[in-house]
Amino acid sequence: MILKRLGISVFVLLAVSLLVFFFTLLLPGDPAQAILGQQATPERLAALREQLDLNAPWYERYLSWLGGLLVGDLGTSAATGGSVNALLASKVSASVVLMAIAAVIAIPVGLLLGTWSAMRRGRAADQGLTGISLVLAALPEFVIGVALTTLLSTTVFRLLPSVTMAAPGTRVWDYPLQLILPTLTLILVVVPYMIRMTRTTMADVLDSGYVEMARLKGLPERQVIFKHALPHAIGPVAQVIAMQLAWLAGGIVVVEFLFRYPGLGQAMVDAVNTRDVQVVQALSMIIAAFYVIVNLLADVVGILANPKLRTESRS
C-alpha cells in the first residue's frame, strides 16, 4: 500500500515537471533577450540562444532538463550564468530552517490546543479558542505579518528586528532574533487550521462508542484520551497538517518578501523578475516535491495509525 502511494507520488512529480516545463516555455519574452537587454545585437542573441540550447526541439530540452533534475543538477542560471544549485543552496536551506522551526512549534501546539478544546466542548475556553482561531484563519498572512511588525518591532514595542540582515558570508540563523517574527507569522497562519481540524476530529472521536466504552471500563481519563482517542484522530489530522506544511512552502513567498528574508520565496520573486527560467523551473520543482513528500508522509502516518489499513497493506 505504501509502495503504491510512492509510485503515485513519482507519477505526480513527473506530471508536474511536464507542466512546469511547458508553462515556463510559455512565459512571455525571450530569455536571451531578457538577459542581454534591448540593445543586444542579433549575433549575440543567436550565440546566447545556442549556448542556452534554445534551438533544440522541446522534447530534447525537456529530457535533458529532466535528466539533470534526476542527478541533482538544476541547470545553469540564465541571469547570472552560474549554477542554479549554487545559487539556491543557501536560500533553500534558509527557508527550510524557517519552515522546520514553524512546523516543530505549530504541530504540537495545534494538536494539544485542538484536543483541549474538544474536551471542553461548549465551555467558555472552547468558545474563546474557536473564535480566536477563526479570526486568525480568516486573516491573510501579510496582515498578520504587518500586525506583528507593528506590535513587536516598530510602533508599540521595539523588541525584534523587522527585516532580516544577511551580510554576505553569514547565514540567517547566525542571528536567531531575526528569525522570530517570520516564524511567528507562519505559526499564526497555520496553527488555527490545525486547532480547528483537531478539535472537530477529536470531538467526533470523543463521542464514539469506544471512548465511552473506555470510560465505562474505568480507565483514567488521561489514558482514555491518549491511548483510545488520539490514535483515531491522528489520520485525518495528519492530512490537515500536511496541507498546512505544504502551504508553508508556497505561503513562505509572501512572508519572506515581507521580512526581506533571503529564502526560497525571495529567490522566486527575483527569478521571475529577471526571466531566469532555469531558476523558476528549479524552484517550482522543489516546491512541488515538497508538497508531494509531505502528503506522502501524511498518507503513511494515516496508514500506520489505522491497523485496518496497516494489516491490509501487509497482506
Binding site: 464514539s208 462508542g209 469506544y210 470510560r215 474505568g218 480507565l219 483515531h232 494489516t311
Partner: protein, 673 residues
C-alpha cells in the same frame, strides 16, 4: 473444599430453577454440559490462577435502583421513577423499544449519563459486601469521578450493544482486556494478569493464545467481537454486569452462543446481570426476571416465565405479538403467517373455506377487489406443492429429477397463471472476485404474489444476488429474466420500464433517505426520472404511495429526521412503490429495527403483496421470520443455493447443515425459565 461448595450451589440453583420453571430439555442439557466443560477447563488450569480470587456473592442484593428519574437537561423526563433490584446469580431483563429509556437506566447504574442528560431524583445503591472495592454500602450517584472510575469495569461491567463501534479499532484485543485488569489492579503482577486474560478468553469460548490476543477487532467476526466485549466485562470478575442488547445484528446461531456464554458466566460466578433488549424471545432464553419499560416507566415486572406467559399490561402483549414464531401458528404483527406449519391451514384459503381463523388484516382483503382476487388466486396453497429446486444447485439428484417448480402446482384461478410464468427468473447466475466465487450458478423463480426468502450468513452472497437482480451489480454472468426477456446486467443498460418494474429497498432506513430532503421530494425522484408526469400528478402519486404504506399523506413534507426507524422504512418502501413495480427486493429491511417495528413492517409487506400481487425477494439472516413472510425459502452458502423450496417443506425437512443449525438456535418464547 471451596470449589465443591460452589458446584453444590450451582447444582442447587439449576435444580431449583428447573423445578419452578420447566425449561425445554435440549437447552437445559446444553447448558449443563457447557458448565461441566467449563468446570473441567478451570480445573486444568487451577494451578495458574488461584481459586481464591473468585469472589462469591455473600449478599442477597447487589444493586438497588430506587425512584430514578433522569431528564433531558431542562426538558422532558427520559426516566420517570424507575426502581429495580439486581440479585447475584440472576439476570433481570429490561425490555422496551428504542427510546424507552432502558439504556439510560442501565448506564445510570454505572453513574454514567450521556451528554445532555441530567439526574433529577433517585439513588443507585451498591449494597454492602457486593463489591471488593467498596465494603460499605454506597449511593453510586453521589460518588466522585475517581470513586466511580474505581467501580466501573471492576465491580460493575458493561457489555456494549455494537462491538464494532465499542471495541477500539486501533488496539489489539488482548490489550483491550488486559487494560481493564491493569486499571483495577487485578492480580499481583503482569504474569497473573496475562494468565487471567487467557483464562477469560477461554471462558467466553475464544482461543486464548498469543497470536489471537494480538489480533485487531477488524480481524474478528461480529460474534467473536461481541465475545471479546463480554470477556472484557468479565475479566475483573465483576459483581454486576450490564448487557446492552449484546446480540443485535448477530445471526441466530451466534446469538445463541453469546446468550449461553452470558448465562453460564453470570450463574457460575454469581454475577448480578441486567440485560437490556427489545426482543422477548431473547428474554425467554437468558432472564430470570423481567421489567417492561414504556416511555421511561416500568409498566410490568415479574418472573420471566410469568410475564411471558401471562402478560398483564397491553404493551407487554404487543411486544409478545411481535416475536416471530418458528411454527407460524401464532400471529405476528396483526396477521397470520403466510406459511404456517403443515397442520395450520394457509391463510389465503379464505377464498374457498371457512373463515374461523381470520386475522384482522383479512377484512381489508375483502374490501379490496384486487386483493381478494389475488388472495383467491393463490389458492393452491404452498402446503400441497411439491418441493421445488429443480434448477437450483441441487446436491440431491433425486429431488431435482422428480420435482416440478412450486409455482406450477395445482392452480385454480387467474392469479395462478401469473405464478406459472415467474415475473423475474434468475438463471445460472455466476460471479467471482478474482479467485473468490461469490455467486455459483444460482437459478430461482420469483412468481407474482409470492415472497421468496433468501437466507444466509454475511458473506454468503445474498446481497450480491439481490443487487444483481435489481441491476445494481452488473458483473455477473448468467441471466436475469423479466417476463421471459433477458435483462441487461446493469440498470443503465435496462430500459426505463424494466427499471421501474424491479425496485429495491435498502437495509438501513437511516442512510437510504436523504436527510436534507422532505419525504415527498425523496419519493418523487423515481417519478422525475421517467419524466412523464406533471408536478401535481407526481405529488398525487407520492401521496398515494404514502397512504399505501399506512403513513398517510401528511408525511409528505416531513423530513427523515422527524421520523422513527419504522416510519422511515415505510417511507423507503413507499419510494419503491411509486413506480408500481412487479418485484420488490427487500435487503435486510427489518434488521435495523426493533422487534415490534419489524412485525409492523412485515405486516405491511404482506398486505401490499395481497393488494398488488407483488413478487418479493426478502433477504434476511433471521430465519424466525420465515413462516410469517415467505412462501419459498432459499438458503445461500458460499454463493451456492443449498436449500430451495416451499417454506414449510424446507423448515420441516431441512437438508443442509447450515439450515439445521439456524433452526436449532432460533430463540422462542417457549424456552422461558
Amino acid at each position: 473444599m471451596r470449589r465443591s461448595e460452589q458446584r453444590a450451589r450451582a447444582a442447587a440453583r439449576a435444580n431449583a430453577s428447573g423445578a419452578n420453571a420447566p425449561r425445554n430439555a435440549p437447552k437445559a442439557t446444553g447448558r449443563g454440559s457447557d458448565r461441566a466443560t467449563a468446570g473441567r477447563r478451570a480445573d486444568d488450569r487451577g494451578g495458574v490462577v488461584p481459586r481464591a480470587v473468585v469472589p462469591r456473592a455473600s449478599v442477597d442484593t447487589a444493586i438497588t435502583v430506587s425512584h430514578l428519574s433522569v431528564g433531558v437537561a431542562g426538558g422532558e423526563l427520559i426516566l420517570d421513577d424507575v426502581s429495580f433490584r439486581l440479585h447475584p446469580g440472576r439476570i433481570l431483563a429490561l425490555v422496551g423499544e428504542s427510546g424507552s429509556g432502558k439504556t439510560t437506566a442501565a448506564l445510570a447504574c454505572m453513574n454514567h449519563l450521556r451528554a445532555g442528560l441530567e439526574l433529577r431524583r433517585g439513588t443507585v445503591e451498591l449494597h454492602a459486601g457486593a463489591s471488593r472495592f467498596h465494603p460499605e454500602a454506597v449511593d453510586l450517584l453521589t460518588l466522585t469521578e475517581r470513586g466511580t472510575r474505581g467501580l466501573r469495569g471492576g465491580t460493575i461491567a458493561y457489555v456494549p450493544q455494537d462491538p464494532a463501534l465499542s471495541l477500539n479499532g486501533s488496539l489489539r484485543v488482548g490489550e483491550q482486556i488486559a487494560e481493564v485488569l491493569r486499571a483495577h489492579e487485578f492480580g499481583r503482577d503482569a504474569r497473573e494478569r496475562d494468565a487471567r486474560v487467557a483464562e477469560v478468553l477461554t471462558e467466553v469460548g475464544l482461543p486464548s493464545d498469543r497470536a489471537y490476543q494480538r489480533r485487531f477487532p477488524h480481524e474478528l467476526s461480529g460474534g467473536q467481537q461481541q465475545r471479546i466485549g463480554i470477556a472484557m466485562a468479565f475479566a475483573c470478575r465483576p459483581a454486576v454486569i450490564i448487557l446492552d442488547e449484546p446480540t443485535t445484528g448477530l445471526d441466530v446461531a451466534t446469538q445463541d452462543l453469546v446468550l449461553k456464554t452470558v448465562y453460564e458466566l453470570t450463574t457460575k460466578h454469581d454475577v448480578a446481570g441486567l440485560y437490556i433488549t427489545h426482543d422477548l424471545a431473547v428474554v425467554a432464553q437468558v432472564a430470570d426476571d423481567v421489567a417492561v419499560m414504556l416511555r421511561g416507566t416500568i409498566v410490568e415486572r415479574g418472573a420471566a416465565w410469568d410475564v411471558l406467559h401471562h402478560p398483564e399490561h397491553p404493551y407487554t402483549r404487543t411486544l409478545l405479538d411481535a416475536v416471530p414464531d418458528m411454527a407460524g401458528a401464532r400471529e405476528m404483527g396483526g396477521g397470520p403467517a403466510v406459511a404456517p406449519v403443515h397442520s395450520v391451514r394457509a391463510p389465503w384459503d379464505d377464498g374457498r373455506g371457512g373463515d374461523d381463523d381470520a386475522g384482522p388484516s383479512r377484512s381489508r382483503d375483502a374490501s379490496t377487489p384486487r386483493g381478494g382476487e389475488a388472495a383467491r388466486g393463490r389458492g393452491s396453497g404452498v402446503v400441497v406443492e411439491p418441493r421445488a429446486g429443480t434448477e437450483a444447485g441441487g446436491s440431491d439428484p433425486s429431488r431435482d429429477a422428480s420435482e416440478v417448480p412450486a409455482a406450477s402446482g395445482p392452480g385454480t384461478a387467474g392469479g395462478d397463471r401469473a405464478s406459472v410464468e415467474p415475473v423475474v427468473a434468475v438463471r445460472e447466475l455466476w460471479m467471482a472476485y478474482g479467485p473468490a466465487v461469490i455467486l455459483d450458478g444460482i437459478s430461482m423463480d420469483l412468481p407474482a404474489g409470492r415472497t421468496t426468502m433468501l437466507l444466509g450468513e454475511s458473506g454468503s452472497g445474498k446481497t450480491t444476488l439481490s443487487r444483481s437482480v435489481a441491476g445494481l451489480n452488473d458483473r455477473y454472468t448468467g441471466q436475469v429474466l423479466l417476463d421471459g426477456h433477458v435483462l441487461a446486467p446493469g440498470t443503465r443498460q435496462r430500459t426505463r420500464e424494466q427499471r421501474q418494474r424491479i425496485q429495491y429497498v435498502f437495509q438501513s432506513p437511516f442512510s437510504s433517505l436523504n436527510p436534507r430532503r422532505s419525504i415527498g421530494d425523496s419519493l418523487q425522484v423515481p417519478l422525475e426520472m421517467n419524466g412523464e408526469l406533471s408536478r401535481a400528478q407526481r405529488r398525487a402519486a407520492v401521496a398515494d404511495a404514502l397512504d399505501a404504506v399506512r403513513l398517510g399523506r401528511s408525511y409528505i413534507d416531513r423530513r427523515p429526521g422527524d421520523l422513527s426507524g419504522g416510519e422511515r422504512q415505510r417511507a423507503a418502501v413507499a419510494r419503491a412503490l411509486v413506480n408500481a413495480p412487479s418485484l420488490l427486493v427487500c435487503d435486510e429491511i427489518t434488521s435495523a429495527l426493533d422487534v415490534s417495528v419489524q412485525a409492523s413492517v412485515i405486516e405491511l409487506l404482506r398486505e401490499l403483496q395481497r393488494e398488488r400481487g407483488l413478487a418479493m425477494l426478502f433477504v434476511t439472516h433471521n430465519i424466525a421470520l420465515a413462516r410469517h413472510i415467505s412462501h419459498r425459502l432459499a438458503v445461500l452458502e458460499h454463493g451456492k443455493l443449498v436449500e430451495y423450496g416451499p417454506t414449510d417443506t424446507v423448515l420441516r425437512d431441512p437438508r443442509h447443515e447450515y439450515t439445521r443449525s439456524l433452526l436449532e438456535h432460533v430463540p422462542t418464547l417457549e424456552s422461558a425459565g
